[in-house]
Amino acid sequence: TTTSSAPAPAETSASSSAPAESSAPAESSAPAEGDIPMGDGTQTIYLVSKGFQHRFWQAVKQGAEQAGEEFNYKVEFVGPENEQAVTQQLDQLRTALQSQPAAIGFAALDSGAAGPVLEEIQAANIPIIAFDSGVDSDIPLTTVSTDNRAAAAEAAKNMAELIGNEGTVGLVCHDQTSATGKQRCEGFQEWMQENAPDVKLLEPQYAFEVGLAANTAKAIIQANPDIAGIYGSNEASAIGTLQGAVESGADVVVVGFDSGKAQLDAIRNGDMAGAITQSPVKMGYETVVAAIKAIDGQELPKVIDSGFAWYDATNIDDPEIAANLYE
């Protein structure tokens, strides 16, 4: 088994010291070492995320609220119904603008769509921070994100090792159209194609719910009895995939993404080989911190990496990993 060795592992482990002990979060991650001014409690920082109904986003929210409490800012947090609801998200962004916050954080579902609203926000002189994934625009002052493509590549790399660099591998991706969804699928495929010529990749299937993912995984397994591994690109896909594998009784290596109680248990007891975790709490925290700095007029770096890490049964309880896992 491997431990984290992603393209940016050093920062990852460093940065993942997390807001928990956030007495000194600034030193841990922010390349720009400004100090963080306290707010007066009246100003609001508004985060428009990609969702609200999954634990991942709740963890982001939690991090954001932590930072808000610490520095005396109010934090509002919204997200659309699902990861296809781009226009709903943009409406939420505009409504956020109308409530006149001091700063806005924005996790764009579609990197190209937000232009007009971002211009409005800029015109209203409200600083905007991108998080989770980037935006095709110069307007956000910085982007706090995970490199999803690299993270997916890390998953692929581990998968390849686990199956001995050969065999058939299936993908159950969680979303077909969003940038994150695509990157998590493509990053995995690209790494395999470049580095594991003996691995046969199946056409990716899409399933955003546990039940769908389980059924999909079973169909993949039945159609390909020689299957060696399946990758699930978020919590629901990964858990569903695992269930599908269990129900089929097939010996399949399942590699996942994100965390959550069921996934953690599965990894602990070895049913799932391992998964990639991002640092959602930290991502929320850093986004708010960056916003506060922006309100203060400080310069921000172009990108703030919130990191990711591979975890499996061997390192799941390491403090720097555990801090980024949520149940």
Partner: protein, 334 residues
């Protein structure tokens, strides 16, 4: 004969009177809208009418326009579940026609083609329902799947950008100060829909079919034809909705639209149109769409957690419909 004379109808009412009377009938959803609005003015920070009203109008325009078409369908006693994904499909086709990467057609031609796409979609629904007698729920459910699939296939599951600034101006421009064109177009389409419903054979027959299809048939009306035409009309309104929706951000997301049909139907029903057909109300539909959007915007601005927004919206929808039912019961008991 009967002595309780019905007597020659009270001298011909003027149109204005008629309109006021019928507006009074719609008062209920209007009252609900006002109540909700005032509530947010008081309790939601920064919810100021000047900024929020144009915004709500802009955001409600697309769904409201789709709801106009759905009012006809529901008036016949039918239903259109494909309105959300059909909207997306029309928008994807707008992208195909007008974006630089695809056909890059001139605006006028592009728009015309989008409307034709909407009409064809409606026609397919209409043929399935009127001529093959497939229940509307099933026919449009199938169309929902098919249009969603096609959107993803055609767009290759990528969002499409329509860079043409004129396209964007259809929604975002302001011919009238303070009112986005989307809102203006919504209102104009609303007036057109009201005229079609109240003053044309199409509207008359739609409601007749919804009220008693067999009697309508026996009156010598080609029920199949008019029913199909109702779905075509709804398809055209859906295409208008697609233009307003995608024009706002100059951009189309091919996987959107699922679930939107429920919002559309809710707007229609809150507006007083009966799901069993026969009675329909265009002004009510418009108010219904605005009410839903006001709730969305207001609750967000109040900072209500989103889980709770769902609960609150559900309850407000219930209250609005229930109050309307109570009012009608009282009215008919007098």
């Amino acid at each position: 004969m009967s002595t309780v004379a019905t007597n020659a109808a009270p001298a011909e009412q003027s149109r204005v009177q008629q309109f006021i009377r019928s507006s009074l009938q719609q008062l209920f959803v209007f009252a609900a809208l006002i109540v909700v609005f005032v509530f947010f003015m008081i309790f939601a920070p920064n919810f100021s009418a000047g900024v929020v009203i144009p915004n709500i109008l802009l955001q409600a325009a697309a769904i409201g326009t789709m709801a106009l078409g759905a009012t006809f369908v529901i008036g016949t006693g039918g239903i259109d579940l494909s309105v959300g994904t059909g909207m997306t499909f029309s928008a994807v086709m707008a992208g195909v026609f007008m974006s630089a990467e695809f056909m890059n057609l001139p605006l006028g031609l592009g728009l015309l083609l989008v409307l034709i796409v909407g009409a064809v979609m409606g026609l397919v629904n209409g043929l399935l329902i009127a001529y093959l007698h497939i229940p509307p729920f099933i026919a449009t459910l199938a169309m929902m799947m098919v249009t969603r699939g096609l959107s993803l296939i055609i767009s290759n599951a990528s969002s499409i950008k329509i860079a043409n600034p004129d396209y964007s101006a259809i929604s975002n421009g302001r011919i009238i100060p303070f009112l986005s064109n989307a809102a203006l177009i919504f209102v104009i389409l609303g007036i057109i829909a009201a005229v079609i419903l109240g003053k044309t054979l199409l509207g008359r027959y739609a409601l007749a079919i919804g009220s008693n299809e067999e009697a309508t048939r026996l009156s010598g009306i080609n029920v199949k034809f008019w029913k199909a035409l109702v779905y075509v009309t709804a398809g055209i309104f859906t295409a208008f909705g697609a233009i307003l929706y995608s024009g706002r951000f100059g951009f189309v997301q091919p996987a959107e639209g699922l679930g939107m049909e429920l919002q559309v139907i809710a707007a229609v029903v809150i507006g007083g149109t009966s799901l069993s057909g026969g009675r329909a109300n265009i002004v009510g539909t418009m108010m219904g769409a605005l009410l839903m959007m006001t709730l969305t915007v207001g609750l967000q601005m109040m900072g209500v957690a989103q889980q709770w927004q769902l609960v609150v919206t559900g309850i407000v929808v219930l209250l609005a419909v229930y109050a309307d039912i109570l009012r009608r019961q009282r009215a008919s008991a007098v």
